[in-house]
Amino acid sequence: MIKQELCTVIAQNKIANNIYELTLQGELVHEMTEPGQFVHLKVSEGYDPMLRRPISIAEIAPGLSHFKMIYRAEGRGTVKLSEKKAGDTVDVLGPLGNGFPVHEVKQGDTALLVGGGIGVPPLYELSKQLVKQGVKVVHILGFQTESAVFYEEKFSKLGETYIATADGSLGTKGFVTNVIDELKLDFDILYSCGPTPMLKALESQYRHKKVYLSLEERMGCGIGACFACVCHTGDDPEGYSYKKVCSDGPVFKAGEVVL
Protein backbone atom coordinates (compact mmCIF):
# COMPACT_ATOMS: atom_id res chain seq x y z
CA MET A 1 0.00 0.00 0.00
CA ILE A 2 1.13 3.53 -0.76
CA LYS A 3 1.89 5.55 2.35
CA GLN A 4 2.96 9.08 3.03
CA GLU A 5 5.42 9.32 5.88
CA LEU A 6 7.95 11.71 7.34
CA CYS A 7 11.00 9.44 7.35
CA THR A 8 14.11 10.13 9.38
CA VAL A 9 17.53 10.41 7.81
CA ILE A 10 19.79 7.74 9.28
CA ALA A 11 22.81 8.42 7.11
CA GLN A 12 23.85 10.42 4.10
CA ASN A 13 27.14 9.54 2.40
CA LYS A 14 28.81 10.89 -0.67
CA ILE A 15 29.92 7.77 -2.51
CA ALA A 16 31.15 9.19 -5.80
CA ASN A 17 31.38 12.48 -7.61
CA ASN A 18 27.96 14.11 -6.99
CA ILE A 19 26.53 10.74 -6.00
CA TYR A 20 24.95 10.29 -2.58
CA GLU A 21 23.71 7.31 -0.64
CA LEU A 22 20.82 8.17 1.64
CA THR A 23 19.44 5.87 4.33
CA LEU A 24 15.98 6.62 5.67
CA GLN A 25 13.94 5.01 8.38
CA GLY A 26 10.20 4.64 8.12
CA GLU A 27 7.31 2.25 8.49
CA LEU A 28 6.61 2.33 4.77
CA VAL A 29 9.63 0.07 4.28
CA HIS A 30 7.28 -2.77 5.18
CA GLU A 31 5.15 -1.99 2.16
CA MET A 32 8.04 -2.42 -0.25
CA THR A 33 7.40 -5.61 -2.13
CA GLU A 34 9.64 -5.61 -5.19
CA PRO A 35 13.08 -4.33 -6.11
CA GLY A 36 12.75 -1.57 -8.68
CA GLN A 37 9.93 0.23 -6.96
CA PHE A 38 10.51 3.87 -6.23
CA VAL A 39 9.54 6.56 -3.78
CA HIS A 40 8.45 10.12 -4.41
CA LEU A 41 10.34 12.54 -2.21
CA LYS A 42 9.44 16.03 -1.09
CA VAL A 43 12.90 17.31 -0.27
CA SER A 44 11.81 20.46 1.52
CA GLU A 45 8.71 22.20 2.72
CA GLY A 46 7.42 24.91 0.49
CA TYR A 47 8.51 25.59 -3.05
CA ASP A 48 12.25 24.99 -3.13
CA PRO A 49 11.45 22.91 -5.05
CA MET A 50 7.72 22.37 -5.23
CA LEU A 51 7.33 18.96 -6.87
CA ARG A 52 8.31 15.60 -5.48
CA ARG A 53 11.31 13.77 -6.92
CA PRO A 54 11.09 10.10 -7.97
CA ILE A 55 14.03 8.05 -6.66
CA SER A 56 14.46 4.29 -6.84
CA ILE A 57 14.78 2.15 -3.79
CA ALA A 58 18.33 0.76 -3.80
CA GLU A 59 18.29 -1.44 -0.73
CA ILE A 60 15.84 -2.49 1.94
CA ALA A 61 16.51 -3.52 5.52
CA PRO A 62 13.04 -4.35 6.83
CA GLY A 63 14.39 -5.45 10.19
CA LEU A 64 15.57 -1.94 10.89
CA SER A 65 12.78 -0.29 8.90
CA HIS A 66 15.58 1.22 6.83
CA PHE A 67 15.85 1.74 3.11
CA LYS A 68 18.57 3.19 0.96
CA MET A 69 18.56 5.34 -2.13
CA ILE A 70 21.41 6.41 -4.34
CA TYR A 71 21.04 9.55 -6.35
CA ARG A 72 22.93 12.15 -8.25
CA ALA A 73 22.79 15.66 -6.80
CA GLU A 74 22.32 17.73 -9.89
CA GLY A 75 19.25 19.94 -9.98
CA ARG A 76 17.51 22.00 -7.39
CA GLY A 77 15.78 19.14 -5.63
CA THR A 78 18.51 16.56 -5.49
CA VAL A 79 21.08 19.12 -4.35
CA LYS A 80 18.73 20.09 -1.53
CA LEU A 81 18.27 16.43 -0.69
CA SER A 82 22.03 15.99 -0.47
CA GLU A 83 22.15 18.64 2.26
CA LYS A 84 20.03 16.56 4.62
CA LYS A 85 21.82 15.25 7.66
CA ALA A 86 21.17 12.40 10.06
CA GLY A 87 18.16 13.29 12.16
CA ASP A 88 16.52 15.45 9.52
CA THR A 89 13.29 14.26 7.96
CA VAL A 90 12.14 13.68 4.40
CA ASP A 91 8.51 13.49 3.31
CA VAL A 92 8.23 10.19 1.44
CA LEU A 93 5.35 8.95 -0.67
CA GLY A 94 5.67 5.30 -1.52
CA PRO A 95 6.44 2.65 -2.34
CA LEU A 96 5.30 3.36 -5.86
CA GLY A 97 5.03 1.35 -9.01
CA ASN A 98 5.84 -2.18 -10.00
CA GLY A 99 9.41 -3.40 -9.82
CA PHE A 100 11.49 -6.19 -11.33
CA PRO A 101 9.84 -9.59 -11.22
CA VAL A 102 12.28 -11.74 -9.25
CA HIS A 103 10.30 -14.93 -9.67
CA GLU A 104 10.74 -15.02 -13.42
CA VAL A 105 14.04 -16.86 -12.85
CA LYS A 106 14.76 -19.96 -10.89
CA GLN A 107 17.63 -21.25 -8.83
CA GLY A 108 20.73 -21.87 -10.91
CA ASP A 109 19.67 -19.57 -13.74
CA THR A 110 21.85 -16.68 -14.76
CA ALA A 111 20.53 -13.15 -14.59
CA LEU A 112 22.27 -10.30 -16.35
CA LEU A 113 21.81 -6.98 -14.56
CA VAL A 114 22.70 -4.03 -16.72
CA GLY A 115 22.75 -0.56 -15.22
CA GLY A 116 23.74 2.84 -16.53
CA GLY A 117 24.64 5.76 -14.26
CA ILE A 118 21.89 6.54 -11.80
CA GLY A 119 20.02 3.57 -13.24
CA VAL A 120 22.38 1.31 -11.30
CA PRO A 121 20.88 1.74 -7.79
CA PRO A 122 17.66 -0.33 -8.07
CA LEU A 123 19.72 -3.24 -9.41
CA TYR A 124 21.41 -3.61 -6.05
CA GLU A 125 18.35 -4.74 -4.09
CA LEU A 126 17.35 -6.80 -7.13
CA SER A 127 20.71 -8.53 -7.16
CA LYS A 128 20.55 -9.26 -3.46
CA GLN A 129 17.12 -10.84 -3.79
CA LEU A 130 18.15 -12.88 -6.81
CA VAL A 131 21.25 -14.16 -5.04
CA LYS A 132 19.11 -15.11 -2.07
CA GLN A 133 16.99 -17.16 -4.48
CA GLY A 134 20.10 -18.96 -5.73
CA VAL A 135 20.22 -17.16 -9.05
CA LYS A 136 23.65 -16.46 -10.53
CA VAL A 137 23.98 -12.75 -11.14
CA VAL A 138 26.28 -10.94 -13.55
CA HIS A 139 26.44 -7.14 -13.33
CA ILE A 140 27.41 -4.80 -16.09
CA LEU A 141 27.51 -1.25 -14.92
CA GLY A 142 28.13 1.74 -17.14
CA PHE A 143 29.29 5.16 -15.99
CA GLN A 144 30.57 8.36 -17.55
CA THR A 145 33.94 8.25 -15.90
CA GLU A 146 35.82 6.69 -13.01
CA SER A 147 34.90 9.38 -10.48
CA ALA A 148 31.21 8.64 -11.08
CA VAL A 149 31.50 4.94 -10.30
CA PHE A 150 29.89 3.61 -7.14
CA TYR A 151 29.00 0.29 -5.51
CA GLU A 152 31.51 -1.68 -7.61
CA GLU A 153 32.68 -3.63 -4.58
CA LYS A 154 29.22 -4.21 -3.24
CA PHE A 155 28.03 -5.65 -6.54
CA SER A 156 31.22 -7.72 -6.80
CA LYS A 157 30.34 -9.44 -3.56
CA LEU A 158 27.09 -10.63 -5.09
CA GLY A 159 28.44 -11.77 -8.43
CA GLU A 160 30.68 -11.06 -11.39
CA THR A 161 30.78 -7.32 -12.02
CA TYR A 162 32.01 -5.52 -15.12
CA ILE A 163 32.40 -1.78 -15.40
CA ALA A 164 32.27 0.29 -18.55
CA THR A 165 33.11 3.97 -18.63
CA ALA A 166 32.44 6.28 -21.54
CA ASP A 167 35.94 7.70 -21.33
CA GLY A 168 37.69 4.44 -20.50
CA SER A 169 38.99 5.71 -17.18
CA LEU A 170 37.82 2.49 -15.52
CA GLY A 171 36.95 -0.91 -16.98
CA THR A 172 35.96 -1.23 -20.61
CA LYS A 173 35.93 1.95 -22.64
CA GLY A 174 32.51 2.53 -24.11
CA PHE A 175 29.02 1.36 -23.30
CA VAL A 176 27.61 -1.57 -21.40
CA THR A 177 26.65 -3.15 -24.70
CA ASN A 178 30.32 -3.21 -25.67
CA VAL A 179 31.01 -5.28 -22.56
CA ILE A 180 28.22 -7.73 -23.27
CA ASP A 181 29.41 -8.16 -26.85
CA GLU A 182 33.02 -8.61 -25.80
CA LEU A 183 32.32 -11.13 -23.10
CA LYS A 184 29.76 -13.00 -25.20
CA LEU A 185 27.75 -13.40 -22.03
CA ASP A 186 24.83 -15.75 -21.97
CA PHE A 187 21.92 -15.38 -19.60
CA ASP A 188 18.38 -16.54 -18.88
CA ILE A 189 17.00 -13.14 -18.02
CA LEU A 190 18.12 -9.59 -18.37
CA TYR A 191 17.14 -6.74 -16.07
CA SER A 192 18.14 -3.22 -16.88
CA CYS A 193 17.78 0.34 -15.74
CA GLY A 194 19.46 3.37 -17.25
CA PRO A 195 19.28 5.92 -20.03
CA THR A 196 16.77 5.27 -22.79
CA PRO A 197 19.35 4.80 -25.59
CA MET A 198 20.87 1.98 -23.54
CA LEU A 199 17.50 0.37 -22.91
CA LYS A 200 16.69 0.63 -26.61
CA ALA A 201 19.95 -1.02 -27.57
CA LEU A 202 19.32 -3.89 -25.17
CA GLU A 203 15.74 -4.30 -26.29
CA SER A 204 16.62 -4.56 -29.96
CA GLN A 205 19.59 -6.83 -29.33
CA TYR A 206 17.74 -9.36 -27.19
CA ARG A 207 14.31 -9.61 -28.76
CA HIS A 208 14.25 -13.35 -28.21
CA LYS A 209 15.18 -13.14 -24.54
CA LYS A 210 13.37 -12.37 -21.30
CA VAL A 211 14.19 -8.74 -20.76
CA TYR A 212 12.84 -6.34 -18.15
CA LEU A 213 13.52 -2.65 -18.42
CA SER A 214 12.99 0.12 -15.91
CA LEU A 215 11.93 3.44 -17.45
CA GLU A 216 12.28 7.04 -16.44
CA GLU A 217 9.83 9.79 -17.19
CA ARG A 218 9.09 13.23 -15.79
CA MET A 219 6.32 12.85 -13.27
CA GLY A 220 3.58 14.89 -11.73
CA CYS A 221 1.67 12.82 -9.20
CA GLY A 222 3.70 9.59 -9.22
CA ILE A 223 0.60 7.56 -8.45
CA GLY A 224 -1.19 7.30 -11.77
CA ALA A 225 -3.62 10.19 -11.61
CA CYS A 226 -2.20 12.90 -13.83
CA PHE A 227 -1.21 11.20 -17.10
CA ALA A 228 2.19 12.93 -17.10
CA CYS A 229 4.30 9.82 -17.48
CA VAL A 230 2.41 7.92 -20.12
CA CYS A 231 3.95 5.84 -22.90
CA HIS A 232 2.50 4.02 -25.87
CA THR A 233 2.12 0.26 -25.67
CA GLY A 234 4.16 -1.99 -27.93
CA ASP A 235 1.09 -3.56 -29.55
CA ASP A 236 -0.52 -0.23 -30.41
CA PRO A 237 2.40 2.15 -30.87
CA GLU A 238 0.39 4.94 -32.50
CA GLY A 239 -2.93 4.41 -30.87
CA TYR A 240 -4.79 5.29 -27.73
CA SER A 241 -3.62 2.53 -25.45
CA TYR A 242 -1.03 3.50 -22.91
CA LYS A 243 0.84 2.58 -19.79
CA LYS A 244 1.82 4.87 -16.98
CA VAL A 245 5.46 4.66 -15.98
CA CYS A 246 4.64 5.58 -12.38
CA SER A 247 1.91 3.08 -11.64
CA ASP A 248 2.09 0.44 -14.39
CA GLY A 249 5.90 0.62 -14.43
CA PRO A 250 8.56 1.78 -13.97
CA VAL A 251 9.57 -1.78 -14.91
CA PHE A 252 8.11 -3.21 -18.10
CA LYS A 253 8.80 -6.35 -20.07
CA ALA A 254 10.75 -5.45 -23.19
CA GLY A 255 8.31 -4.73 -26.00
CA GLU A 256 5.42 -4.01 -23.67
CA VAL A 257 5.81 -0.27 -24.14
CA VAL A 258 7.43 1.97 -26.73
CA LEU A 259 10.73 3.30 -25.44
Binding site: Y47, M50, R218, G220, C221, A225, F227, A228, V230, S247
Partner: protein
Protein backbone atom coordinates in the same frame (compact mmCIF):
# COMPACT_ATOMS: atom_id res chain seq x y z
CA UNK B 1 -24.26 21.89 12.36
CA UNK B 2 -21.80 22.01 9.54
CA UNK B 3 -20.07 25.25 8.67
CA UNK B 4 -19.13 23.90 5.26
CA UNK B 5 -22.21 22.57 3.45
CA UNK B 6 -23.16 24.57 0.40
CA UNK B 7 -25.72 24.64 -2.37
CA UNK B 8 -24.86 25.62 -5.89
CA UNK B 9 -26.77 24.93 -9.11
CA UNK B 10 -27.00 21.15 -9.32
CA UNK B 11 -24.70 20.70 -6.38
CA UNK B 12 -25.64 20.08 -2.76
CA UNK B 13 -22.26 19.64 -1.22
CA UNK B 14 -21.10 18.47 2.20
CA UNK B 15 -18.25 20.86 1.80
CA UNK B 16 -16.94 23.16 -0.93
CA UNK B 17 -13.64 21.32 -1.52
CA UNK B 18 -13.12 19.27 -4.65
CA UNK B 19 -10.14 18.06 -6.65
CA UNK B 20 -9.67 19.99 -9.89
CA UNK B 21 -10.03 18.35 -13.25
CA UNK B 22 -6.94 16.58 -14.52
CA UNK B 23 -5.28 16.43 -11.13
CA UNK B 24 -7.23 13.49 -9.80
CA UNK B 25 -7.79 11.25 -12.81
CA UNK B 26 -11.12 9.50 -12.25
CA UNK B 27 -10.44 9.04 -8.58
CA UNK B 28 -9.19 5.45 -8.64
CA UNK B 29 -5.68 6.17 -7.40
CA UNK B 30 -6.77 8.47 -4.62
CA UNK B 31 -9.47 6.01 -3.53
CA UNK B 32 -6.63 3.82 -2.30
CA UNK B 33 -5.49 6.63 -0.06
CA UNK B 34 -8.75 7.87 1.47
CA UNK B 35 -12.51 7.60 1.23
CA UNK B 36 -13.63 9.71 -1.72
CA UNK B 37 -16.99 10.29 -0.01
CA UNK B 38 -15.18 12.83 2.18
CA UNK B 39 -14.91 15.20 -0.78
CA UNK B 40 -17.43 17.89 -1.58
CA UNK B 41 -17.38 16.81 -5.22
CA UNK B 42 -14.95 15.44 -7.80
CA UNK B 43 -14.07 17.15 -11.04
CA UNK B 44 -13.02 14.33 -13.29
CA UNK B 45 -10.41 14.46 -16.03
CA UNK B 46 -11.50 16.11 -19.27
CA UNK B 47 -13.58 13.77 -21.40
CA UNK B 48 -13.73 13.90 -25.18
CA UNK B 49 -16.02 12.02 -27.51
CA UNK B 50 -13.20 9.79 -28.76
CA UNK B 51 -10.28 8.43 -26.76
CA UNK B 52 -7.17 10.62 -26.85
CA UNK B 53 -3.58 9.78 -26.24
CA UNK B 54 -2.52 13.35 -25.70
CA UNK B 55 0.88 14.90 -26.25
CA UNK B 56 4.29 13.27 -26.35
CA UNK B 57 6.36 13.29 -23.17
CA UNK B 58 7.88 15.09 -21.28
CA UNK B 59 4.50 16.46 -20.34
CA UNK B 60 5.40 18.25 -17.14
CA UNK B 61 8.07 20.67 -16.03
CA UNK B 62 8.68 22.41 -12.77
CA UNK B 63 8.67 26.18 -12.29
CA UNK B 64 9.09 28.42 -9.27
CA UNK B 65 6.10 27.66 -7.05
CA UNK B 66 4.36 26.10 -9.99
CA UNK B 67 4.43 23.53 -12.73
CA UNK B 68 3.73 23.30 -16.42
CA UNK B 69 1.69 20.53 -17.94
CA UNK B 70 0.91 19.61 -21.49
CA UNK B 71 -1.01 16.40 -21.05
CA UNK B 72 -3.14 17.16 -24.07
CA UNK B 73 -6.49 15.94 -22.79
CA UNK B 74 -5.52 12.29 -22.66
CA UNK B 75 -8.59 10.30 -21.72
CA UNK B 76 -10.21 7.00 -22.56
CA UNK B 77 -13.11 8.63 -24.43
CA UNK B 78 -16.77 9.20 -23.64
CA UNK B 79 -17.93 5.58 -23.71
CA UNK B 80 -15.32 4.28 -21.36
CA UNK B 81 -15.61 7.25 -19.03
CA UNK B 82 -19.35 6.71 -18.70
CA UNK B 83 -19.37 2.92 -18.58
CA UNK B 84 -16.24 2.31 -16.58
CA UNK B 85 -15.14 5.36 -14.66
CA UNK B 86 -18.43 6.98 -13.74
CA UNK B 87 -20.01 3.62 -13.03
CA UNK B 88 -17.13 2.79 -10.73
CA UNK B 89 -17.45 6.15 -8.98
CA UNK B 90 -21.08 5.41 -8.09
CA UNK B 91 -19.94 3.49 -5.04
CA UNK B 92 -18.99 6.78 -3.40
CA UNK B 93 -21.35 9.29 -1.91
CA UNK B 94 -19.92 12.17 -3.91
CA UNK B 95 -21.32 14.22 -6.77
CA UNK B 96 -19.28 14.29 -9.96
CA UNK B 97 -18.62 17.36 -12.07
CA UNK B 98 -17.76 16.15 -15.55
CA UNK B 99 -15.15 18.17 -17.43
CA UNK B 100 -16.23 18.30 -21.07
CA UNK B 101 -13.76 18.99 -23.85
CA UNK B 102 -13.60 18.79 -27.60
CA UNK B 103 -12.18 20.12 -30.83
CA UNK B 104 -15.43 21.45 -32.23
CA UNK B 105 -18.88 22.32 -31.10
CA UNK B 106 -20.34 18.95 -32.06
CA UNK B 107 -17.84 17.14 -29.86
CA UNK B 108 -18.75 19.21 -26.85
CA UNK B 109 -22.43 18.73 -27.48
CA UNK B 110 -22.10 14.99 -27.92
CA UNK B 111 -20.12 14.56 -24.74
CA UNK B 112 -22.32 16.92 -22.74
CA UNK B 113 -25.51 15.17 -23.78
CA UNK B 114 -24.36 11.71 -22.91
CA UNK B 115 -22.28 12.38 -19.83
CA UNK B 116 -24.85 14.67 -18.22
CA UNK B 117 -27.22 11.73 -18.23
CA UNK B 118 -24.97 9.69 -15.98
CA UNK B 119 -26.52 9.16 -12.57
CA UNK B 120 -23.74 10.65 -10.48
CA UNK B 121 -22.91 13.57 -12.75
CA UNK B 122 -24.50 16.56 -11.05
CA UNK B 123 -22.95 19.27 -13.16
CA UNK B 124 -20.79 19.80 -16.22
CA UNK B 125 -17.62 21.84 -16.39
CA UNK B 126 -17.24 23.11 -19.91
CA UNK B 127 -13.53 23.16 -20.64
CA UNK B 128 -13.12 26.00 -23.10
CA UNK B 129 -9.70 26.80 -21.79
CA UNK B 130 -7.30 23.94 -22.29
CA UNK B 131 -4.07 25.48 -23.56
CA UNK B 132 -2.55 22.18 -24.60
CA UNK B 133 -4.43 21.13 -27.66
CA UNK B 134 -4.04 22.51 -31.17
CA UNK B 135 -7.67 22.94 -32.09
CA UNK B 136 -10.64 23.78 -29.98
CA UNK B 137 -9.95 24.19 -26.34
CA UNK B 138 -8.49 27.59 -25.95
CA UNK B 139 -10.05 29.16 -29.03
CA UNK B 140 -13.45 28.71 -27.43
CA UNK B 141 -12.08 30.31 -24.32
CA UNK B 142 -10.73 33.52 -25.77
CA UNK B 143 -13.48 34.71 -28.10
CA UNK B 144 -16.58 35.84 -26.19
CA UNK B 145 -19.06 35.16 -28.98
CA UNK B 146 -17.71 31.66 -29.59
CA UNK B 147 -17.82 30.88 -25.90
CA UNK B 148 -21.37 32.14 -25.63
CA UNK B 149 -22.60 30.06 -28.54
CA UNK B 150 -20.91 26.93 -27.30
CA UNK B 151 -22.42 27.45 -23.85
CA UNK B 152 -25.86 27.82 -25.41
CA UNK B 153 -25.52 24.65 -27.44
CA UNK B 154 -24.32 22.66 -24.48
CA UNK B 155 -27.07 24.05 -22.25
CA UNK B 156 -29.64 22.86 -24.76
CA UNK B 157 -28.61 19.25 -24.38
CA UNK B 158 -27.33 19.04 -20.84
CA UNK B 159 -29.50 17.42 -18.21
CA UNK B 160 -27.55 19.08 -15.43
CA UNK B 161 -26.34 22.63 -14.75
CA UNK B 162 -23.38 23.80 -16.79
CA UNK B 163 -20.35 25.55 -15.31
CA UNK B 164 -17.97 27.12 -17.78
CA UNK B 165 -14.25 26.97 -17.06
CA UNK B 166 -12.58 30.23 -17.99
CA UNK B 167 -9.11 30.68 -19.34
CA UNK B 168 -6.92 33.33 -17.72
CA UNK B 169 -5.10 33.90 -21.02
CA UNK B 170 -7.34 36.75 -22.04
CA UNK B 171 -7.22 40.51 -22.00
CA UNK B 172 -10.65 40.88 -20.51
CA UNK B 173 -11.89 38.13 -18.24
CA UNK B 174 -15.09 39.96 -17.32
CA UNK B 175 -16.13 40.10 -20.95
CA UNK B 176 -15.65 36.33 -21.24
CA UNK B 177 -17.62 35.72 -18.06
CA UNK B 178 -20.48 37.91 -19.23
CA UNK B 179 -20.53 36.15 -22.58
CA UNK B 180 -21.00 32.72 -21.07
CA UNK B 181 -23.52 34.12 -18.60
CA UNK B 182 -25.48 35.35 -21.59
CA UNK B 183 -25.06 31.94 -23.15
CA UNK B 184 -26.93 30.51 -20.18
CA UNK B 185 -24.15 29.18 -17.98
CA UNK B 186 -25.19 28.20 -14.47
CA UNK B 187 -21.83 28.87 -12.93
CA UNK B 188 -18.18 29.55 -13.60
CA UNK B 189 -15.04 27.70 -12.71
CA UNK B 190 -11.84 29.65 -12.85
CA UNK B 191 -9.10 29.62 -13.59
CA UNK B 192 -7.56 27.15 -15.95
CA UNK B 193 -3.81 27.36 -16.46
CA UNK B 194 -1.76 30.28 -17.78
CA UNK B 195 0.30 29.44 -20.84
CA UNK B 196 3.95 29.11 -19.96
CA UNK B 197 7.24 27.56 -20.95
CA UNK B 198 10.57 26.33 -19.62
CA UNK B 199 13.76 25.64 -21.52
CA UNK B 200 16.49 23.14 -20.87
CA UNK B 201 19.76 24.76 -19.90
CA UNK B 202 21.87 22.12 -21.57
CA UNK B 203 20.08 21.56 -24.85
CA UNK B 204 18.40 24.91 -25.31
CA UNK B 205 15.19 23.13 -26.19
CA UNK B 206 11.80 23.52 -24.56
CA UNK B 207 11.48 21.03 -21.70
CA UNK B 208 7.97 20.03 -22.71
CA UNK B 209 7.63 18.03 -25.91
CA UNK B 210 4.63 20.23 -26.66
CA UNK B 211 6.94 23.24 -26.14
CA UNK B 212 4.43 25.30 -24.15
CA UNK B 213 2.20 24.13 -21.36
CA UNK B 214 -0.26 25.22 -18.73
CA UNK B 215 1.10 26.89 -15.62
CA UNK B 216 -0.58 25.84 -12.39
CA UNK B 217 0.19 25.92 -8.70
CA UNK B 218 0.74 28.66 -6.10
CA UNK B 219 2.51 30.87 -8.64
CA UNK B 220 -0.81 31.63 -10.35
CA UNK B 221 -2.91 32.20 -7.25
CA UNK B 222 -2.68 36.02 -7.36
CA UNK B 223 -3.88 36.03 -10.96
CA UNK B 224 -6.79 33.74 -10.17
CA UNK B 225 -7.81 35.82 -7.15
CA UNK B 226 -7.75 38.99 -9.18
CA UNK B 227 -9.91 37.50 -11.91
CA UNK B 228 -12.43 36.07 -9.48
CA UNK B 229 -12.53 39.41 -7.68
CA UNK B 230 -13.32 41.20 -10.93
CA UNK B 231 -15.77 38.67 -12.33
CA UNK B 232 -17.71 38.07 -9.13
CA UNK B 233 -18.61 41.76 -8.98
CA UNK B 234 -19.83 41.89 -12.56
CA UNK B 235 -21.59 38.60 -13.03
CA UNK B 236 -24.20 36.95 -10.88
CA UNK B 237 -23.08 33.36 -11.40
CA UNK B 238 -21.51 31.37 -8.58
CA UNK B 239 -17.79 30.77 -9.03
CA UNK B 240 -15.79 27.69 -8.20
CA UNK B 241 -12.30 29.07 -7.69
CA UNK B 242 -8.99 27.35 -8.30
CA UNK B 243 -5.33 28.04 -8.86
CA UNK B 244 -2.63 27.19 -6.37
CA UNK B 245 -4.86 26.32 -3.44
CA UNK B 246 -2.96 24.27 -0.89
CA UNK B 247 -4.32 25.24 2.51
CA UNK B 248 -7.48 26.17 4.39
CA UNK B 249 -6.19 29.76 4.45
CA UNK B 250 -6.02 29.77 0.67
CA UNK B 251 -9.64 28.62 0.53
CA UNK B 252 -10.74 31.57 2.63
CA UNK B 253 -8.75 33.95 0.45
CA UNK B 254 -10.61 32.62 -2.60
CA UNK B 255 -13.90 33.11 -0.81
CA UNK B 256 -13.02 36.69 0.10
CA UNK B 257 -12.28 37.34 -3.58
CA UNK B 258 -15.68 36.04 -4.57
CA UNK B 259 -15.66 32.24 -4.84
CA UNK B 260 -18.49 30.03 -3.60
CA UNK B 261 -16.53 26.78 -3.69
CA UNK B 262 -13.00 25.82 -4.61
CA UNK B 263 -11.02 23.16 -6.40
CA UNK B 264 -7.57 21.88 -5.56
CA UNK B 265 -5.35 20.86 -8.46
CA UNK B 266 -1.56 20.73 -8.38
CA UNK B 267 -1.42 20.44 -4.59
CA UNK B 268 -2.75 16.87 -4.90
CA UNK B 269 0.57 15.88 -6.44
CA UNK B 270 2.57 17.31 -3.58
CA UNK B 271 0.37 16.04 -0.79
CA UNK B 272 -2.14 13.45 -1.97
CA UNK B 273 -4.08 13.88 1.27
CA UNK B 274 -4.44 17.62 0.83
CA UNK B 275 -8.21 17.66 0.12
CA UNK B 276 -9.29 15.79 3.25
CA UNK B 277 -6.74 17.79 5.26
CA UNK B 278 -8.23 21.09 4.12
CA UNK B 279 -11.73 19.81 4.78
CA UNK B 280 -10.70 18.90 8.31
CA UNK B 281 -8.96 22.19 9.01
CA UNK B 282 -11.55 24.57 7.61
CA UNK B 283 -14.13 24.52 10.45
CA UNK B 284 -11.50 25.45 13.04
CA UNK B 285 -10.09 28.22 10.87
CA UNK B 286 -13.54 29.64 10.20
CA UNK B 287 -14.24 29.70 13.89
CA UNK B 288 -10.98 31.43 14.71
CA UNK B 289 -11.80 34.11 12.15
CA UNK B 290 -15.25 34.59 13.63
CA UNK B 291 -17.42 33.05 10.92
CA UNK B 292 -20.23 30.62 11.52
CA UNK B 293 -20.47 29.40 7.97
CA UNK B 294 -18.05 29.53 5.10
CA UNK B 295 -20.61 31.20 2.85
CA UNK B 296 -20.22 34.37 4.93
CA UNK B 297 -16.79 34.75 3.38
CA UNK B 298 -17.89 34.91 -0.25
CA UNK B 299 -17.00 38.27 -1.76
CA UNK B 300 -16.10 39.81 1.59
CA UNK B 301 -13.43 41.92 -0.10
CA UNK B 302 -16.02 43.88 -2.01
CA UNK B 303 -19.37 43.26 -0.34
CA UNK B 304 -20.44 45.66 2.34
CA UNK B 305 -20.47 43.89 5.65
CA UNK B 306 -21.23 44.88 9.22
CA UNK B 307 -18.61 43.19 11.35
CA UNK B 308 -15.74 45.62 11.55
CA UNK B 309 -12.40 44.17 12.38
CA UNK B 310 -10.29 45.92 14.95
CA UNK B 311 -6.67 45.07 15.45
CA UNK B 312 -3.96 46.31 17.72
CA UNK B 313 -0.44 45.07 17.13
Amino acid sequence: MSSLNISLPGLDLKNPIMPASGCFGFGREFSQLYDLSKLGAIMIKATTSEPRFGNPTPRVAETSAGMLNAIGLQNPGLEKVVNEELAWLEQFDVPIIANVAGSQEEDYVAVAKRISAAKNVHALELNISCPNVKTGGIAFGTIPETAKNLTKKVKEVSEVPVYVKLSPNVTNIVEMAKAVENGGADGLTMINTLIGMRLDLKTGNPILANKTGGLSGPAIKPVALRMIYEVSQQVSLPIIGMGGIESAEDVIEYYYAGASAVAVGTANFIDPFICPKIIDELPELLKSLGYEHISECTGRSWKKHEKAAYYCS
